[in-house]
């Protein structure tokens, strides 16, 4: 039993376990609505998968609410997804990553990677200048050599890539 799974009263909090089935249910309904008025050849596969998924979700919901009715569980989220502090950390990581994705076309792969790594290391508790500079620099340089030089991947080029291309 993970910490926090069993709050006062001895009940297990299983609300978090409903996120995927309910999400699946909503997605199946949306998918069915998107194929409702089209030719059967385009519908049939979606109908089959949606029908099976909806059946499985209904079975899961019956099982879950049965546990709740028997008093074994409640529908609170609990801390199955992590404590509030951890969730804040994860949210921070997601926000920094979103900024990285948006900034990548303007900054180019190497500079964006360097800045992303610096920001993340600082956010995750890195304090020494060595950690904050040398590690991101090494990784960004390694990424440049592997992806841009060796694999010639189609990553956005920015000031660093143009500069290095002009020099070499």
């Amino acid at each position: 039993m993970k910490p926090g799974d069993k709050p006062e009263g001895g009940k297990v909090s299983i609300g978090a376990e409903l996120i995927i089935p309910i999400g699946g249910l909503l997605f199946a309904i949306y998918y069915l609505s998107s194929i409702w008025n089209i030719r059967w050849e385009a519908q049939v596969n979606g109908f089959f998968h949606s029908a099976v998924l909806l059946t499985l979700v209904v079975l899961f919901l019956i099982k879950t609410f049965g546990r709740v009715a028997r008093g074994e569980a409640d529908l609170r989220l609990g801390d199955k997804l992590g404590s509030k502090a951890l969730l804040r950390g994860r949210l921070g990581l997601v926000v920094i990553t979103a900024v990285f994705v948006v900034a990548l076309p303007w900054l180019g792969f190497t500079l964006a990677t360097f800045l992303f790594l610096v920001a993340n290391l600082a956010f995750l508790g890195g304090r020494s200048p060595m950690q904050l500079a040398a590690v991101p620099l090494g990784l960004a340089a390694g990424g440049y050599v592997l992806f841009i030089v060796a694999l010639n991947a189609r990553f956005p080029h920015g000031v660093i890539e143009h500069l290095l291309a002009a020099i070499f």
């Binding site: 995927i20 997605f27 089209i38 030719r39 998968h49 997804l81 990285f100 508790g125 990424g143």
Partner: protein, 499 residues
């Protein structure tokens, strides 16, 4: 095939050792980077393979192809992030072994299983080419649909502790895989209005999100990947652990061979692929084990079975390409383009006009496996040190480099956002017991199952009973049903036996 021809092609392959060494090195690296599989690396390197002699080009492609199968297992074991879909099953026991401080042994088991499994299946393929190719003729759309549903069911039973949750994950994946325009009328379905999803959900961002991003979000919970005992063990690790891994593998030699054979047979079926083969091998390994309860907690057989099968697929998937001109997978399809460009005929004519080229594919595999074993085995001690790195450094590096991997195949920023969305889905799935492997395999098989499903229905004029008319199909249905009920029945049987 005569002895003279066999000797000749084997010596020719061996004479290209320098090229094979280069290709396998690239293959292991790109196989270990999620998003850079064999087929897109061969696409990137098309100017080379198209420019050189076809024997050199094919040797390079085949060596690179087999090496990516081996490389995919490295991040699966060390970071719980499979480099390719075929290595997804390796995470089930590989990562627990790494967490327990047995990363070195797990890596050696993976390399030995890949090498021996790949070697043995390449030799078998060499001598049984025409017979194995018949598998592709016997399996039609109906059987393919059932095989894929069988794959999803197996994953539900194996990967998730709760079969119902596993099935929900699998069918959610299949429905996500059904996003995109249909094959006949190009009508968009379930795309949320995004043009980028009209071609379907790209597999690489799904793989990266479900495994890499979600794992990075989980990693934030601890300072290192290792358990306390695992850390102590890893800090004391020497070359002795490498040898222990070799001994572990050699003690399970027969296990490597028969799970590799599963990969070879499934690989010979066009479209089935390494993702299904590795799970079937894992399930079979667990089913016949005396200690099935140890699977998922870090057992060498749990690494050996999927890795051997994964490499068996490498040999199997090239058989339909060479014998009947149907590519067995995406990499084989890219190879077919190169062969067509060079004017190489496929099918019977290839074996009459240039048998050296046809059989050379398998002798190149044999030489590649020998070279890879000697180059990568000494590196396991150093590779395993990745598990000692603090998550403070690992998390940003994983997120950054895998996200750019999501961008690479199509060059859409949208795919990076998609990987993030899959990452959040994967994180919730991991935390609530809906295994991410089921979702991923569903996404991979979604478009394929639709093709076969539709083909079967069109042939039968929309009559769904067609799925119950084939003898092979009915046997597969029975196996599918058995795989659903077997764990419960066997569990009760064992409990009765021990009571």
């Amino acid at each position: 095939m005569t002895i003279e021809l066999l000797t000749d092609v084997l010596l020719t392959s061996a004479s290209y050792w320098w090229l094979i060494l280069l290709a396998t090195t690239i293959g292991i690296i790109v196989g270990a980077v999620p998003g850079f599989g064999a087929h897109n690396t061969i696409i990137i390197l098309l100017p080379f393979t198209l420019a050189v002699d076809i024997h050199i080009g094919l040797t390079f492609m085949v060596a690179l192809y087999v090496a990516t199968h081996m490389g995919g297992g490295i991040p699966a074991i060390l970071l719980n992030i499979p480099g390719t879909g075929g290595a997804a099953a390796t995470t089930l026991d590989g990562f627990p072994m790494a967490k327990n401080g047995q990363a070195q042994q797990a890596l050696v088991c993976s390399f030995m299983a890949s090498t021996i499994g790949g070697f043995v299946t390449a030799v078998i393929a060499l001598f049984t080419l025409p017979y194995l190719a018949r598998i592709a003729y016997s399996l039609h759309s109906v059987e393919m649909v059932i095989i894929m549903l069988f794959g999803i069911t197996l994953i539900a039973v194996i990967a998730a502790r709760d079969t119902l949750k596993g099935l929900i994950a699998g069918f959610l994946g299949l429905l996500i895989g059904a996003i995109g325009t249909d094959h006949i009328y190009s009508t968009p379905r379930g795309t949320f209005g995004f043009l980028e999803l009209y071609d379907g959900v790209p597999i690489v961002p799904a793989l990266i999100g479900l495994f890499a991003i979600s794992e990075a979000l989980v990693m934030l919970e601890s300072e290192t990947l290792l358990t306390e005992a695992g850390k102590v063990r890893m800090l004391k690790a020497t070359w002795a652990e490498t040898w222990e891994g070799v001994r572990m593998s050699m003690a399970r030699l027969w296990h490597i061979v028969w799970t590799g054979m599963i990969g070879l047979f499934i690989g010979a079926i066009p479209g089935a692929g390494a993702s299904i083969a590795s799970f079937v091998a894992y399930q079979q390994s667990r089913m016949y084990s005396k200690t099935p309860e140890a699977y998922g907690k870090g057992i060498p057989e749990g690494v050996i079975a999927p890795e051997s099968a994964n490499n068996g697929v490498g040999s199997g998937s090239l058989i339909p390409l060479l014998v009947i001109g149907i590519p067995g997978g995406s990499t084989a399809a890219v190879m077919m383009v190169v062969l067509h460009y060079h004017g190489v005929p496929l099918g019977q004519r290839l074996f009459i006009e240039d048998p050296g080229l046809a059989y050379g594919v398998f002798t190149t595999m044999i030489v590649s496996y020998v070279i890879m074993l000697f180059t990568i085995l000494p590196l396991t001690r150093y590779l395993s040190r990745v598990t000692l790195i603090s998550t403070m450094f690992l998390v940003p590096a994983i997120v950054c480099f895998t996200l750019v991997g999501a961008f690479a195949p199509r060059a859409y920023l949208f795919d990076m956002g998609l990987a993030m969305a899959f990452g959040i889905l994967g994180f919730i799935a991991r935390k609530t017991g809906f295994h991410v492997v089921g979702i991923l395999i569903g996404v991979i098989l979604g478009p394929l199952i639709e093709q076969y499903f539709l083909r079967a229905l069109r042939i039968s004029d929309g009559d769904v009973s067609v799925f119950f008319t084939s003898p092979i199909g009915n046997v597969l249905w029975a196996l599918l049903f058995a795989s659903l009920v077997a764990p419960t029945v066997l569990g009760r049987f064992r409990r009765t036996g021990t009571a």
